[in-house]
Structures are given as structure tokens and as C-alpha cells.
Symmetry: C2
Subunit: 275 residues, 2 copies
């Protein structure tokens, strides 16, 4: 996997009032060059992972997502070449994220702030649900978010669990981890379970070794978080999984968001809540 | 739309003890020639709509399903040419349904009991969630199912609401209707909402005209059901929608299940329940 980059800095809100921005306002700021991250921006609105692949890889990607719905819940898929989505009026997927990653044959080749120059007419873009959505629900329900308390990006780990492959696409499941106090465990599981469009309930609780993770202090993405003594590590499938599939499967070209620099949609988190 | 066929007869359990069969036992009986329908068979196990299209239509179909998740919740997609699925050990999708429909350029050309002779190596098969699953949940929760009380197939209607198109595929949303007593309405909405993989909560309640349905006594598929005086018509998105898309979009070839003659999976209904 790629080493952590300069993007994996502590999460601090980009501007003091960014949580109160409308999604459109946030997109305009990011388009104008504001660097992100997007954590806490336009509170209550759904953020999405982006992955764009050439049209002849789109079926494999869509099938990969269908076969692995917990890490890869699809919120929208564009037509080939299109940079618009019904999830965000007036948005331009090529410019409105704070930062992108450009991939060639599975290698990270650039981290630009827009992708207008490298855009291709055959790119199909997938917007994938993001755990930022269920973090709001958990916070509302009183579950402490240790990484937010500590001003850090959530830690993410490449697991030993392989996704179900689809055509040429294969790769490991990536998870995010949040330490949860035992008295909040039921709430955390129940509340995230009501949001299947943003990864749903956890895939594992307790020993990291159960997922083939050797050391919680060394995440593959994001930053390590300090747990309280009684906290139980809770692992959710993570939207970075399609990026891991790109690294493992090496399509000739792909564009993704940079970690923590998500796409702001106009959708409200609660519209993905099942009940 | 095609007129109702001989398949749309009153629903009666195929054999007295069919509800207690295992899914594998049920598939073996149907493979051996038992005609169906599958309502009530292998109780508690998930039944699925089948639609098989040539590989060069598979991306459009998968995208159509992703864009219209309420009528088209995808439970599994096979590799091209494969007639197996991880949802049902040892099953053969070409023989294990009681009856099929074969389509050429959008026209119904045959209703055989197996499709071994017309199978093609480029067929990709989609298994789509079926409302039989939430009917069990509703019955368990005490909601009366009028059509079952009356021994009829559930009535289905082609609506005036168009699905979001995907590539060459377009068509109207098809709904099923169940009359629900007002005191059970909340339960019916809540319980079905917890099963998003099998159409989730209703798309409409009350006046049929709101969906562009002219006459509830004349369903497009299945049979009309008699409502009690205070009952409210409740409409759920229906897995016959992909069949309507085939009729409207006319792919050169397709195979589907015959109405009411579903595919029995080994999955248990509760595993699709969100919480």
C-alpha cells in the first residue's frame, strides 16, 4: 500500500464556520482552492468517496461494489464523461473536491486540487457512501468519537479479508476503527446499522487480529487514535476499499478523492437512514 | 404490457407441506417439474426475481438497478454464462425455477419450465429481491395480508412513474398493492422499511391516481384483491420492474422468472433485515 502522505495530518475544521456552510457554498470554496479536509464541513450533509475509472472498467467496478456493499455502498454513478450528479446541483466533480489522487496502473502519480487537465471523456464516476455520515448519527446518539476528540483523522487499516472479486477487480477490504466504550456499543452498532448506504453496522468488534491487522498503532491511512482503557475497538467497512482495489488490480487509469477530502453532496444524512 | 396469462391463477400452496421444505428440496422439486407457484414454499427463506440478459446489456441492467434500488434491489449477479450463485448451494438457475419467460426484442416468446435449450454463454443473471420476504415480516408483526387471506396472487400495476434510465434501459416502475387497515399502517411501513434489500418501505399510500393507476380492480399482473372498507391501499415498488424495462427497452434477448414462480435461495429473510 502507499505510505501515508502529507494529507494525513490532524483533522482541523478548514474555517471556523465551515460546519454551517451549505454544501453548494462548501463546493464553491473548495473549487476556489480551499484545501480541506472536509470533516465537519456543511454539517448534516452527506459526503462521498469518489472513484472514476475508464468506461471499459465501469462494469467491473459497479459489480465489485454490488458484491461488496458494506465497504462500497454506491450513492450514484455518472454517465461516461459526465462530471455532474443529481446528488449535487451545479457541482463539477472535476473541481469541487479539495484534493484528488490520480492513479496510473495502480500507482499514485499525482495529488492535484483539480482534475480538469487529466479528465477523460470515457471516465465513469462512482460516488460511494462515507462513514462521516454515521459519525454524525453516533455523535447525536451520545457515542464519543475518540479521533474527533483528539483532533485526528480516523485510522484506517488494510485487512486480511479479501473482497469478493468482480471481473478484473480484486483487493482487500479496508476498515476504519473507532474505540467505543462498552456502554455505548449497542447504540453504535444499532445506529450505524440503520445507515446501510454508508457502510451500515460494523464488520468486526474486539481483537484486531480477527481481521488480520497486526498493529492498531500503525494504520495504513489516517492516524492512530488513543483508546480509553475499557474501550472496545469497533471496525467498520471503509470507502477507501475501492482505492485499495485500484492499487491491487491496476486499471490503466483512475481518479479518486484524497483521503479525508470528500465530495460534498446536497443530500441530507437522514435520507439514508432506513427507519 | 402483456396481458395476464394462465400463470396468474389463484395462489395455492403447491403441496400441503411445501412451507416446511428446505430451499434445496424445493429447488429439486421444481427442477423435477413441479409447477409452482412459490408463494409459501420453504417459509422464511428468501425468494428472488430472476432476469438474465446478454453480457453487453449487463452494465445497463446493473446501473438501472443501482439507480432504481427500490424496485430493483440486487441480491446477486452471476458471471457471464454461469448458472450458479453463492446464494443457493448446488442450484442451477436454468432449471430450478418452476417456470420461466423468454423474451426476444421485448416480446414474450415462450414460458418454458426450464431454459437449458435457450441458454447462452453470454447471459448475466440478476437475482432481485422479492416482496414475499417482507410479507412474512408483516404477517409476523400482525398485519393482515388480504391477498393471501383470499388465496390470490398479489395485484401488480404499471405506474405512470418512470424509472431513472440507464444507458439503453428505461421503463415504468411497477408496484404491488396491499390493502392495509389504518391501525396496522405504521407497522407495515416500519417493518418493510427495515428490509431495504427487498424493496423497503412503500413508495405511496392512498389514492392510486397518485401513481397514475386508473383502476385498482384491473391489475397489470397478478389478481385484484378485495379491500375492507377502512383499508388504505399501500404500494410497494415491485421486482417485476426489470421485466417492464425489458418490454419497454427491447434488448435482443432476455430470460425472466414467470410471475409468482420465483427462485428459492438458501438465504434467510432475517439476514436482509437492517436492525
Amino acid at each position: 500500500m502507499n505510505p501515508a502522505t502529507a494529507q494525513d495530518r490532524p483533522v482541523t475544521l478548514v474555517e471556523p464556520h465551515a460546519h454551517a456552510w451549505s454544501p453548494g457554498e462548501a463546493r464553491a470554496r473548495f473549487r476556489a482552492g480551499l484545501p480541506g479536509p472536509t470533516a465537519g464541513v456543511a454539517a448534516g450533509h452527506t459526503q462521498a468517496n469518489l472513484i472514476s475509472v475508464p468506461a471499459d472498467w465501469a462494469y467491473d467496478m459497479l459489480l465489485f461494489c454490488q458484491r461488496n456493499p458494506k465497504p462500497c455502498p454506491v450513492l450514484d454513478v455518472t454517465d461516461a464523461g459526465a462530471w455532474t450528479t443529481p446528488l449535487a446541483e451545479g457541482a463539477d466533480l472535476r473541481t469541487d473536491l479539495p484534493r484528488y489522487r490520480v492513479w496510473e496502473h495502480g500507482d499514485l502519480v499525482a495529488e492535484p486540487t483539480d482534475v480538469v487537465d487529466v479528465w477523460r471523456d470515457d471516465l465513469v464516476s462512482f460516488l460511494i457512501g462515507c462513514s462521516f455520515t454515521f459519525e454524525w448519527a453516533l455523535t447525536e446518539a451520545g457515542v464519543p468519537m475518540r479521533h474527533i476528540e483528539q483532533g485526528r483523522n480516523v485510522p484506517m487499516y488494510v485487512t486480511g479479508r479479501q473482497c469478493r472479486p468482480a471481473g478484473r477487480l480484486h483487493g482487500p477490504m479496508v476498515v476504519s476503527m473507532r474505540p467505543v466504550p462498552p456502554e455505548h456499543l449497542g447504540t453504535a452498532i444499532r445506529e450505524s446499522g440503520l445507515l446501510p448506504a454508508v457502510h451500515g453496522g460494523p464488520v468486526h468488534c474486539g481483537e484486531a487480529a480477527g481481521l488480520g491487522i497486526a498493529d492498531l498503532s500503525r494504520p495504513d491511512f489516517g492516524e492512530a487514535v488513543t483508546a480509553e482503557p475499557d474501550d472496545i475497538p469497533v471496525f467498520w467497512a471503509c470507502g477507501v476499499t475501492p482505492q485499495a482495489a485500484v492499487m491491487a488490480s491496476r486499471p490503466p487509469f483512475a481518479i479518486t478523492h484524497a483521503p479525508g477530502r470528500m465530495f460534498l453532496t446536497d443530500a441530507r444524512d437522514e435520507q439514508y437512514r432506513v427507519a
